[in-house]
Amino acid sequence: MADETRRQQFTRLWTDVQPAVAAYVRTAVRDPHAAKDIVQNTAIVLLNKFDQWDSSRRFLPWALGFAKFEVLAHSRDRGRDRLVFDESLLGAMADCWPDVQETVGRERTALRACIDALTAPAREMVRLRYLEELSIKQVAKQVCSTAGATRVALMRTRRQLLDCVSRRLRQTSTSQHEE
């Protein structure tokens, strides 16, 4: 029973933090398939070591610590092909990641509305890049454009979304003040 309770607790905690851990891994490992494997490996390691977790500590920082080592192990196994993130950078990212996730979490609802407000071409480009996981070159081919133009268009779309989210959050904050 105690084991079952512990497993349920782990499942609850892992379900909460999995998106943040996945985002951290995807940031450092650009191959989506490799990133998925690393996240799964991290989950297995966390489950195996769950008994060692001090419940007075936050779970996410602890989980990120293991994710960091899984990323490093993956990089070592694959050989050194233009690694940007070494251990110190991964550690620095893991340190700030929980706070960053909180900031980004507050923007989620506004971001959904802003995506809906994108023009059709911009939404299609976002779909191809973020859902179909196509490379820039592949997206460019799909939309009959050049890689350079596609990259710039995606950059502009991300900036539009950021501006839109900021405006919505300011409006929400203003209306809350006025209430």
């Binding site: 940031t27 950078l89 990212m93 700030c96 071409p121 299609e124």
Partner: protein, 426 residues
């Protein structure tokens, strides 16, 4: 130097070049604030991915649950294609009816490692700061090492390298006049009826949407296209040719050679200086009748303390096509003499095969280590791996292309002469 936001964006789009990856890592390591800035951008990027995926699952669930329900969220490809065509026509229509005649598009200076000036009509010449916008005028960069990047509102970007003079004309389309120097551009798709045009002393390039480099001299224009297509019209006889992916075109003032696109070939790994000049090369120095290159004074802007000095250089510059490819086992060999005992510097500027900056390097030819013969000539040999990175300290990358190589006595007029100058790959 790429700005930090551009580095972040390129990382998120998996578009960093090798040189940019090093720049990016250096920037990240510089401070925790930079790591946090990047982490925030990346987390937002991943949240976008998660929401897109979640919406798609919602569409699938809705479509499978009810035939009458309209899917929300992401569009399907066929719809998107029609939507894009309609959007383009609408945008073109709005542009046609609303743009006043002769309103040139706005351009901003994104960043520069050296001063850039703008002369515009009757206004006095002014020095541009990052973020400054303008529509017309003549941009001048006077420093050999200049890399100045500009962006149009539509996202088209161009970079001026070295000593360049570029005029932006008063025209609703993008009309540029490259009087001299090197222009690198990534051009977004332009309206067919109003392509971007760049005029040089010998040719006119018509650009619809592509990545290209254009080098203008008084009597020749060299065009290299990495991605897309550019049509080049030779002014002397109106002949036209189109260069496409990884092709180049050379338009000479004389017009006696065929105007024909050729594949861009790799820059060789060995080079020997001779008074014979090939397209895209500029000699820094003067050749005498005995085949000796004599150093000439050249204005150099020192970043620190921001003053101009006159330095004495003997060498060669060629942004495109490039001088020589440096490999791990390359050696630079120089036979030189000076009128008085002095150490001589070697300077190299390098780029990648795709025109990205890959670092400046120097070495010293110490007078005592290179004894003179009876005529005062000394021979120095410098392995590529012993070159010292300058400035941003980008480490030497085998396979980089040398765009400038020169010997210098810096600010001292020491009568530097170079009899032999070569790069050997063992």
């Amino acid at each position: 130097m790429t700005n930090e936001n551009d580095l972040i964006e390129r990382y998120l789009d998996d578009s960093l070049t090798d040189e940019q990856a090093i720049e990016f890592q250096t920037w990240l390591k510089a401070s925790d604030e930079n790591v946090k800035k990047f982490a925030l951008a990346s987390a937002r990027n991943e949240q976008l991915r998660a929401i897109v995926a979640a919406e798609e699952e919602g569409v699938v669930a809705t479509a499978s649950g009810s035939r009458d329900s309209k899917p929300r969220g992401m569009l399907r490809p066929g719809t998107a294609a029609r939507g894009m065509t309609a959007a383009c026509l609408l945008i073109a229509g709005i542009w046609l009816f609303s743009s006043p005649a002769h309103s040139a598009p706005q351009v901003s200076l994104v960043g520069s490692n050296s001063p850039v000036s703008l002369r515009s009509g009757q206004e006095p010449q002014r020095w541009l700061n990052t973020g400054d916008s303008f529509t017309t005028g003549t941009l001048v960069t006077e420093n050999d090492a200049t890399r100045a990047r500009f962006a149009y509102v539509d996202g088209t970007v161009f970079t001026l390298r070295g000593e360049t003079e570029l005029t932006l004309e008063d025209d609703p389309g993008k009309r540029l006049v490259l009087s001299k120097g090197l222009l690198l551009a990534e051009v977004l798709p332009q309206p067919r009826q109003q392509p971007m045009k760049v005029l040089t002393p010998t040719a006119e390039a018509t650009v619809l949407g592509t990545t290209f480099a254009l080098n203008a001299e008084t009597n020749e224009t060299l065009l290299q296209v990495r991605d897309g297509e550019v049509t080049l019209r030779r002014l002397i006889d109106d002949r036209e040719a189109t260069a496409r992916n990884n092709e180049q075109l050379l338009a000479l003032q004389t017009g006696d050679q065929p105007l024909q696109a050729e594949p861009i070939t790799d820059v060789p790994a060995s080079w020997k200086a001779s008074s014979k000049r090939t397209p895209g090369q500029t000699w820094l120095g003067t050749w005498n009748d005995e085949g000796v290159l004599k150093a000439v004074p050249r204005k150099i802007l020192l970043k620190k303390p921001g003053v101009e000095e006159e330095h004495f250089h003997a060498g060669i510059r060629s942004e495109i096509p490039g001088v020589v490819t440096l490999e791990k086992d390359s050696e630079i060999r120089i036979r030189y003499r000076t009128a008085k005992p002095i150490n001589v510097g070697l300077f190299l500027s390098t780029r990648s095969a795709t025109w990205d900056f890959t670092g400046n390097f120097q070495a010293y030819l110490v007078e005592e280590e290179n004894p003179a013969d009876a005529d005062g000539w000394r021979t120095g040999t410098v392995p590529a791996t012993s070159l010292l990175p300058m400035g941003a300290k980008i480490p030497f990358q085998p396979g980089c292309v040398v765009s400038t190589i020169l010997a210098t006595t810096y600010a001292q007029d020491a009568g530097l002469e170079v009899a032999e100058f070569e790069v050997i790959s063992k």
